[in-house]
């Protein structure tokens, strides 16, 4: 029992008030108990001032006998919080009055957990409750406060939602009966809050929905992490590949190139040691020519694989040199027209190789068939395209008549189209020939730097393009 004034006067006597002992019900109280379906005042044996005491009890509503009506009446000295299935039903702090909760709609068939969190300010302590359940079959169930309730230690976590008790939870202690001094025989008042309705569970609150959303989030997160990791790895792999290409190019060049150069020089020297007419000298001379050609071929392979050479400027200079060297063996003069200040834009390996082969083909055709005295090679950059023109004022041909399979033109055009470029041939009999190649600087598949497809087909494009470096 707590009355503020009383406490103020006797705060030091708190320990003089141990637990009360239950007495016998008076006939008058017995009637009240019967009518309201109440139990006894319960508390824990470890009485303390300012004490919280938690009570726990599970009840089973039969599946085949639904609840018609369930009313729970409760009070506590000094206050309580009432929970059903971890849901807070209500609270009260007037030990003189009863509160009557209608739980009809909450007691669905199955197991339910009732929990009371009681608090005592000082002196007599207790929780009194009783729930009367009327079942559809007409049977009546009374759940009352008695020693079947368990006292939950204050250290227990999530005790409201526990469906089974802990082994160490001790039974509650009956500390008094209805009507026992200082408690009432008849409650001063019975308060009736509105009937409690079950929580409306929207579909987005259901476990499966939340679970699904969560798993989608996790999957999405995992996927993006995976993609990011893969992108990072691929970028790294591309960098490594470039570095490796440059290293291989350098190694080939340094070791093999130096050895070949030495071979050329030594055989030149050896050659001079034989008389001019000897067959050995002839052989050495041939040997020199072959070794020089090998050395030159090696330079071209190195050029093709060296990532440092992936620029338009380099391509243009290489193409000019190639054309000059190629035509120096013929009677045809080579004329160049290269846009001044050719930028060092990145020029994809696959595209530059395809374009190189096509231009070689065009030069070869012109040298073989044009009969011209001069071939013009023109290289320009227009926007994101490079334009290479091979032009002569020679015999020319009728494109209609020559068209079709069997000549290199078809292959040439197909190859360029695959790489996102175009090839236009203008010619007429006696009107010379003009072949124009227009290529994008970047391969269409790799344009924009990043595509999902490139991630999923990791680097197949590269290997496909690189396997046949023939260094022509």
């Amino acid at each position: 029992m707590c009355m503020a004034a009383f406490l103020f006067c006797h705060p030091v006597f708190a320990e003089d008030y141990p637990l009360t002992k239950p007495q016998k019900l008076t006939p008058q109280a017995e009637k009240v108990v019967e009518q309201l379906g109440l139990g006894s005042w319960i508390w824990t044996t470890n009485f303390q001032e300012k004490q919280t005491c938690r009570f726990w009890k599970s009840i089973d509503v039969p599946a085949n006998d639904p609840v018609r009506r369930a009313v729970l009446r409760i009070t506590a000295d000094n206050s309580y919080h009432l929970f059903l299935d971890a849901r807070e039903i209500g609270e009260g702090s007037n030990w003189k009055a009863l509160t009557e909760y209608d739980l009809t709609f909450l007691l669905t068939p199955g197991r339910h957990v009732m929990a009371v969190d009681g608090f005592n300010d000082g002196r007599e302590a207790g929780v009194l409750l009783g729930m009367r359940i009327a079942l559809a079959s007409g049977k009546q169930l009374d759940v009352v406060s008695d020693d079947s309730w368990l006292v939950v230690p204050n250290t227990a976590h999530r005790w409201l939602s526990r469906s089974r008790p802990d082994a160490e939870w001790q039974p509650a202690t009956i500390v008094g009966v209805v009507g026992q001094n200082p408690w009432w025989v008849n409650p001063v008042n019975i308060m009736t809050p509105p009937t409690l309705q079950p929580y409306e569970l929207h579909f987005w609150k259901t476990t499966w929905f939340l679970g699904a959303v969560l798993s989608i989030c996790i999957v999405a997160l995992a996927l993006s992490l995976w993609l990011a990791a893969k992108l990072a790895l691929q970028t790294r792999a591309q960098e490594l590949l470039d570095v490796e290409r440059a290293r291989i190019a350098r190694d080939i060049h340094d070791d093999l190139g130096a050895a070949l150069t030495q071979l050329v020089l030594q055989s030149e020297v050896a050659q001079t040691e034989f008389p001019e007419t000897s067959t050995a000298r002839g052989h050495f001379s041939q040997f020199c020519i072959r070794a020089r050609a090998a050395s030159q071929a090696l330079d071209e392979v190195v050029w093709a694989v060296n990532s440092k050479r992936d620029t338009l400027r380099d391509f243009s200079s290489y193409l000019c040199k190639y054309a000059q060297a190629f035509l120096s063996d013929t009677a045809i003069r080579c004329r160049l027209d290269v846009q001044p200040g050719m930028p060092a834009s990145v020029f994809d390996l696959s595209v530059r190789r395809g374009l190189l082969l096509a231009v070689k083909e065009a030069l070869n055709n012109a040298a073989k068939h044009s009969g011209a005295a001069e071939i013009l090679l023109r290289i320009n950059k227009e926007g994101e395209n490079v334009i290479v023109v091979v032009e002569d004022q020679g015999n020319g041909f009728d494109p209609e008549a020559v068209g079709g399979a069997g000549n290199g033109l078809q292959n040439m055009m197909q190859r360029l189209q695959d790489l996102g470029g175009a090839c236009q041939i203008t010619s007429g009999i006696g009107a010379g020939c003009r072949v124009e190649f227009r290529m994008p600087l970047a391969h269409p598949a790799s344009r924009g730097g990043f595509s999902l497809r490139s991630l999923f087909n990791s680097q197949n494009g590269d290997t496909h393009e690189r396997h046949d470096l023939d260094g022509q």
Partner: protein, 230 residues
């Protein structure tokens, strides 16, 4: 680079006083082979073989060779740095770079650094001989690629009215024709001058390039910020 074509019959030098060639090359076998090749020409003699740039800086200035053949890659002091330093000691001696690969970036840096010509190491003895004669009688041949870079470098740096580093109209014309793929002979025909005149234009272009770049590109190269190997 296309192999250096012999434009005209090379002038004959008196065998009584063969021209003195110095060689700077770190690999012994290559050095010996080059020396033998040079010595096989009646009008040339390989007077000195240096194994490193440091060696060359010590040995060559007192010997006063007629031409220096310099490997572009040397351990420690590079051929390019060695060229710059030798030019200070022997400003009149032409230096020809020897490169294993056809790398315009590198060759251009070497030319700016003071080289007067360049040769691929796999060049034929006949081309070697004509290149040596070219560099002694005028400017060494210039490929269209190098000519293009020279044009660009002169356009990028207009240096006021200093005639030493400005190209004359004829020199510029010569360069433009080179970039278009004309040979020295074709240029001579087109400009109505002798091939020797074209070569002397080239010689002046090389010289002006050295002057022009002494401050810029070389300083960059010395500080290590240069184009690397191929």
């Amino acid at each position: 680079m296309t192999p250096h074509r012999v434009e005209t019959k090379a002038p004959q030098f008196s065998t009584e006083s063969p021209l003195k060639i110095a060689l700077v090359e770190d690999k012994r076998d290559v050095r010996e082979s080059w020396a033998k090749l040079i010595n096989s020409f009646p009008d040339f003699i390989c007077m000195c073989k240096c194994a490193s740039g440091e060696d060359a800086l010590r040995t060559l200035p007192p010997l006063q060779p007629d031409v220096i053949l310099m490997d572009i890659f040397l351990p420690r002091m590079s051929g390019i740095e060695c060229t710059t330093r030798l030019k200070n000691e022997l400003p009149r001696t032409p230096i020809v770079m020897l490169t294993a690969s056809d790398d315009d970036d590198l060759v251009f840096v070497a030319l700016q650094a003071g080289a007067d010509g360049y040769l691929l190491k796999r060049t034929t003895p006949a081309d070697l001989r004509s290149a040596l004669i070219d560099v002694l009688t005028g400017g060494a041949p210039m490929s269209s690629e190098i000519a293009r870079r020279v044009v660009e470098s002169f356009r990028q740096k207009p240096r006021g009215h200093d005639d030493n580093i400005r190209l004359t109209a004829r020199e510029e014309e010569t360069l433009m024709l080179l970039t278009k793929g004309y040979s020295n002979k074709e240029i001579a025909d087109r400009l109505g001058v002798s091939i020797e005149t074209v070569r002397s234009h080239l010689k002046h272009i090389y010289e002006k390039m050295h002057v022009q770049s002494r401050a810029g590109a070389v300083a960059r190269y010395m500080s290590g910020n240069h184009v690397g190997q191929s």
